[in-house]
Symmetry: C2
Subunit: 341 residues, 2 copies
């Protein structure tokens, strides 16, 4: 990464978009020039990067001329519309949206899990769903200890998964409730503050919402286990920016010992074990917020199945669940092209 890059962010004003800027600084991502792209209604705004103000420009096909790396985080519709232009312009595209995740020829990558899925010819790489990334960061290392047969997952997902607007909604509703006052207008069918709800994406014919269908499909694709059994329930809770997941991992045979699980997880890059039974200290989404690592704790034998272990996982949805994973993908590709050069 000796050469500075022309970098574009599509969705620069969003919650994930803003995290990219902080991560570029923090990780010394080799940005030489920066284009902050968003919808027309954001034009006129600016964002700070490395002490300099950058204007928001309109995300349109011509914006990608000369761009080396384009990070997309503006939803599937916008990605489908503009990714082809970015590829055409020669950019490496890392797409946070769901637009290309199911395409068999597009790698869907968590760099700690399946970096080998990125082939030299790949110029478009998809970032998985946030719940799937956080889940697999804790699950993948356990494959060293045995063949995994089934995952059972209940999520406690934060507002940030619904973007900056959902975070604001939670804060504004909460403020109105504790201070008295009218609740703000909401796209939800029920209150969010001091409440929780089944993930509000459309339900398929099997009764699963889109988020759950993503966790099932994407876990299988990323792990390369098309027959992996996945039981999943996705729930949104009144937490701002980190997702928590209650996870049971069922193995094909007797489960590894709790000590083995802790050891393997503690040695896994991007994972921190927080599991103090005496002090009752385990992962919380607040502890996970703002950190790149995924926190894992409550590691214990499943008393209902000798082949299974249970754990509680928390990860920052905006970082490892989105922007950080995307930057790591770009870094993986760039380090390879440098080592070839």
């Amino acid at each position: 990464m000796n050469k500075g890059l022309s970098v574009a962010i599509v969705g620069a004003t969003g919650a994930v978009g803003q995290e990219f800027l902080r991560l570029f600084e923090l990780r010394n991502f080799p940005v030489e020039s920066l284009k902050l792209l968003a919808s027309a209604r954001s034009v006129g705004k600016t964002s700070l990067f490395n002490g300099k103000e950058y204007p928001i420009e309109v995300a349109e096909p011509s914006a990608f001329d000369g761009v080396d790396v384009a990070f997309f985080s503006a939803g599937a519709t916008r990605s489908k519309e503009l990714v082809p232009a970015a590829l055409e312009a020669g950019a490496l595209v890392v797409d946070n949206s769901s637009a290309y995740r199911t395409a068999p020829e597009i790698p869907l990558v968590v760099p700690e899990v399946n970096p080998e899925s990125i082939l030299p010819e790949n110029r478009l790489i998809a970032v998985p769903n946030c719940s799937a990334i956080i889940l697999l960061m804790a699950v993948h290392p356990l494959r060293k200890l045995g063949k995994i047969d089934r995952l059972i997952v209940s999520t406690y997902q934060s507002a940030s998964g619904g973007g900056a607007a959902m975070m604001r909604l939670l804060e504004d509703e909460t403020k109105a409730l504790v201070n008295g006052g009218d609740l703000p207008a909401s796209p939800l069918k029920h209150r969010y503050a001091f409440n929780l709800f089944s993930h509000n994406t459309p339900i398929n014919e099997d009764g699963y919402n889109e988020e759950e269908a993503k966790v099932i499909f994407e876990s299988r694709k990323i792990l390369g286990m098309p027959d992996l059994k996945v039981n999943v329930t996705c729930v949104r809770v009144p937490v701002l920016r980190a997702h928590t997941e209650s996870v049971t991992v069922e193995f094909d045979g007797p489960a590894p010992s709790i000590e083995q699980v802790k050891e393997v997880l503690a040695a896994s890059p991007g994972v921190q074990v927080i599991d103090d039974r005496t002090e009752n200290r385990f992962p919380t989404p607040l502890d996970a917020s703002g950190q790149g690592d995924v926190l894992v704790g409550r590691i214990r034998q499943d008393l209902s199945n000798p082949n299974a272990i249970c754990m509680l996982v928390s990860g920052d949805q905006l970082l490892k669940g989105a922007a950080l994973n995307a930057v790591q993908i770009a870094e993986t590709v760039l380090s390879r092209s440098n080592s070839v050069a």
Copy 2:
């Protein structure tokens, strides 16, 4: 229930204690005289019942003279201290605490599930743990459809399970956070507002907290299934007064159809099915708050196991999870003694 009763509430100033008063009014519970008992520091306070103010008196052994029915909701230590005196005085005792739940000779009862566990000689009946009650209200009816082999449960428990003080803590912390200001003193090791945490009860040698151990033991005792397999993770979320649970029920053979499950649940007293896939309307703790019924939705096949179904359950922790279940127990006993008379 033609004769008016002398009724005592131990823990009358607590969150559950206050619900008893509302329920007595709502259900025309035959209260002729009422004793509101609490610790010495509450003496001087009063509570309203049927438009009349009642003084708080000290909960002490002599307080039970002439009492017909005593409801205990002041924690296990206080129950162990005072229940013997109440029984000695001839009262029927319904105990909300965990003090007597594990004693084999004491019935542990959810009236919709195991009313037959109350024998004519029983003068002390234990109210189960709130998470267990809410779980079993949704699980027990499914026994009509097949033999249940295993339950897999992740809870989303409200502040009320920690009593009025925990509810106030959540409100006060939230207020401080949204308005700016110092966080109030807290008995927790981490923030509660906009956060969640593994249930903060002591962890046993298997890595399970007390709440989880209760759900396992009590489910088996109430259902009369000592070998029932139970996988459970208990988590406290920033919601005020209703618990939600993500539940997978594994049967001994092929799972019943979703239509059968819905039908059986809809016909079960105390259960409401809220399951509108088109409108994405499912149980929320806010909808469950203030209602006696337990809400069940997200009813669907477990795609990872042909023998299992999944559902999401919400129930008011203070009502069906505590005070309502206790009052129903008393009503069950009283209606039997009346029918014998």
